[in-house]
């Protein structure tokens, strides 16, 4: 018990980062398994009977909560603790103990939050389902993390900040505000204004947290893995400032055909299209940094994840502005196409970034080599192929569905046309969950196994590129 408490409330350097990443992986397996169960219900609706906690309408929010607040957010915070320390030239986090307290609060809120949603205590707003107390816990977790990272970076010896630090500090500034504006525990509007605020949050959890954080991590990983210097610091700065300008007002494109004010829709559509600016500056920078080193991916599994996430980011961000325009949204909206798009962003792009970061950071903070490269390869292919299959199935299903709505036919006449796609989507889900279980096992063996291959545990003192 003491050993456990010591590990949990440790004051060792990088323990908070390690604990955050390990918890994140646990919630990853939890969240994807719940998602798989919900996916199975789309194929076999009578699979689970008489269990209210496991009906589709409750599993879906638990899935999004588990992977968004649990896996991705905790993974991001773990990376931010590590990168904030390393890039500012500090020896350790400002307060490891505070970091670990944050970790405990966060784990509690993810676990209890999931239980509360399952039992029907929900705010019932998409992506903002958590109720009052848990909203406060998320906010507390974000603010504690923010204090910790800001203090570390500001007190570090490095005075010229690498672009990753800009992104990390930006995300930790933006997201708490987005969270406050979008959750009814803090700010309450009525009627359609509630939908406007809800989608301000619903889209900016992606824009001002996952995108900003993920791109920041990529800016560190790509030069680190390839050994190439960053192609252009100017481009990276343009990308950062334009994300801040164009991402935040896009939320209303989720309710583009509802009777909200037209000028608000116009702002949302225009800034959605303008997102191409940060996207292409960022991607140009990434791909030019990769120059001459693409072949490394043959042997370097984390780099493979990074490249796949670059591909995912490219596709997501071409698709995103495209489907936010009125002409396309008119047809695509309300269909599984959008579900496919969400999986492309959150699985193929941001999760893959954190996968790569975990494979990179865990050895650095534990001083142990990753247990098995072969398992990592399996993890890559199961996740990557699983994602491709899922995206294709959902996109095609979305087109069929949209056709159904647009031909003004009652859904019971064409709903069964979706069955094959939903089944394929379930199979791809099995692949993805299997991949994540291998991932969890691999990291578990890396961190806790008695026999391990040591590497010098000195993440500090590394000059960044």
């Amino acid at each position: 018990m003491n050993r456990f408490l010591n590990a949990v409330f440790s004051d060792e350097p990088f323990s908070a980062s390690r604990n955050f990443l390990i918890s994140a992986i646990f919630w990853l397996v939890f969240g994807t398994t719940i998602g798989l169960t919900a996916g199975a219900l789309m194929t076999w609706p009578d699979l689970i009977h008489e269990v209210p906690q496991l009906s589709f309408g409750r599993l879906r929010p638990v899935h999004t909560h588990g992977v968004l607040i649990g896996w991705l957010s905790m993974g991001y915070v773990g990376c931010m603790f590590f990168l904030g320390t390393v890039l500012s030239g500090s020896k350790r986090l400002w307060s490891e103990r505070l970091g670990n307290v944050t970790m405990v609060v966060w784990n509690l809120l993810v676990g209890l939050g999931a239980l509360s949603i399952m039992n029907g205590y929900t705010e019932a707003r998409e992506y903002a389902e958590l109720q009052g107390i848990f909203d406060w816990m998320v906010l507390a977790g974000l603010i504690l993390t923010g204090i910790n990272v800001y203090k570390t970076v500001l007190s570090g010896p490095e005075k010229k900040w690498y672009v990753t630090l800009w992104y990390i500090l930006g995300a930790l500034f933006w997201f708490p505000i987005v969270y406050v504006v979008g959750n009814r525990a803090f700010v309450q509007f009525d009627g359609l204004n509630d939908a406007i605020a809800g989608w301000f949050y619903g889209h900016n959890i992606l824009g001002m947290w996952f995108t900003v954080g993920g791109v920041g991590i990529l800016y560190y990983l790509i030069p680190r893995f390839t050994g190439n210097p960053l192609y252009s610091h100017t481009l990276s700065m343009i990308g950062f400032w334009t994300i801040g300008m164009f991402y935040a007002p896009t939320g209303t494109h989720h309710i583009l055909q509802s009777p909200v004010p037209e000028w608000l829709k116009a702002i949302a559509v225009i800034s959605s299209v303008f997102l191409l600016v940060p996207v292409f500056t960022v991607l140009t920078n990434f791909f030019m940094t990769m120059k001459g080193k693409w072949s490394l991916a043959a042997d370097h599994v984390p780099l493979r994840f990074v490249m796949a996430s670059g591909l995912g980011y490219l596709l997501t961000c071409i698709q995103g502005p495209f489907q936010a325009t009125r002409g396309i949204n008119w047809y695509i909206h309300f269909s599984n196409w959008v579900v496919g798009h969400a999986h492309m962003a959150l699985l193929a792009t941001f999760s893959f970034i954190v996968f790569a970061a975990v494979y990179y950071i865990i050895p650095k903070v534990t001083g142990r080599k990753v247990f098995s490269k072969q398992l990592a390869v399996w993890h890559f292919w199961l996740s990557f192929l699983g994602w491709i299959i899922m995206m294709l199935a959902l996109t095609i299903a979305g087109l069929v569905q949209a056709a159904g709505w647009h031909f003004a036919l009652p859904v019971d006449q064409w709903g069964m046309e979706l069955e094959p796609y939903m089944f394929v989507r379930f199979l791809s889900g099995v692949m993805i969950v299997l991949g994540q279980i291998l991932f969890m096992f691999n990291i578990y063996k890396t961190v806790f196994s008695k026999n391990y291959e040591p590497i010098p545990a000195s993440p500090t003192g590394m000059a960044y590129v």
Partner: protein
Amino acid sequence: MEKRLNYLVAGAYIALVFVTIIVVTVYLPYLKFQPEASEVATNYEQEDPAVLRGRNVYRREGCFYCHTQFVRYQDRETGEMVAAGDYVHETPHVLGTERTGPDLSNIGGKYPDSWHWAHHVNPRAVKPGSIMPSFSYLSHDDMSDLIAYLQTLGAKRKQPHWINGPQEYRDKYHVISELVDVDSSAAANAGRGIYMQNCAVCHGVQGKGNGPVSATMAKKPANFTRPYYAAYSNDMWYWRVAEGVAGTRMPRWKKSLSDEDMLYLVAFLKTLPNDGSAAAGEVEVTEFSQLDDPNKLDDNYKYIENLGADHGAYQYGGGRPH
């Protein structure tokens, strides 16, 4: 020192841009966009408390993940379009973003309570092929509250014909509608002839979707006697006949029938839907009463053979009513 100032300026800039965006896209709508409650809006404080309780069940069970509550311009099968004033009392919103099931803005009053009850306990018993989860775990009270809520949705804007054709066909129908009085008995009888020559082979002589050719089809023809089709407006019928149904064997009849013929057809089709309680339509139909037994498929075959003998081979283009 100068470096630090640079960072401060940058930070201030980020904060300023972000606050501006929040003010413009969240707070400004709140200030400027406060629509008056429309006549359709449900004021939950004045309703039976069961309705609000039912709304909470709707939210708790996550119904809004698969059912939307806003009818768009292009959603012609779900009834009247919504307006901003309809949502004044809808807090928190349940607009939804994905339709695995139909839009529910206008579901109120379309089905009896008992239908809803059966549908929630075992969706596939009343809607084969539905993938809606069973809500048999709901308590008796929760279920009746939920149904009370569903019955208020759009009930105030209920119209007899709420499925409309696309705008271009609505306009076109408006122009050509003077050709034929589609509500008249004569036009319906005229349409019957065209129907028997062109449509009955798939849709069946009584419009039950059981014509002889339907046996060979993966996608079964529509059964026009379903009460659902009573909601079709004239322009919807006209559009459906003219443009066919993509992905099925239903042809685009505008290629072979004149506008006038299609209007006669509309006049006849309008008489087919019924809820099982009344005789088909209000139009008096006197001929062909010998075909009232729908189960005698053989008779249908015979009938079609006879039809061919009477009218010459039944060809596209249809005949004028005799």
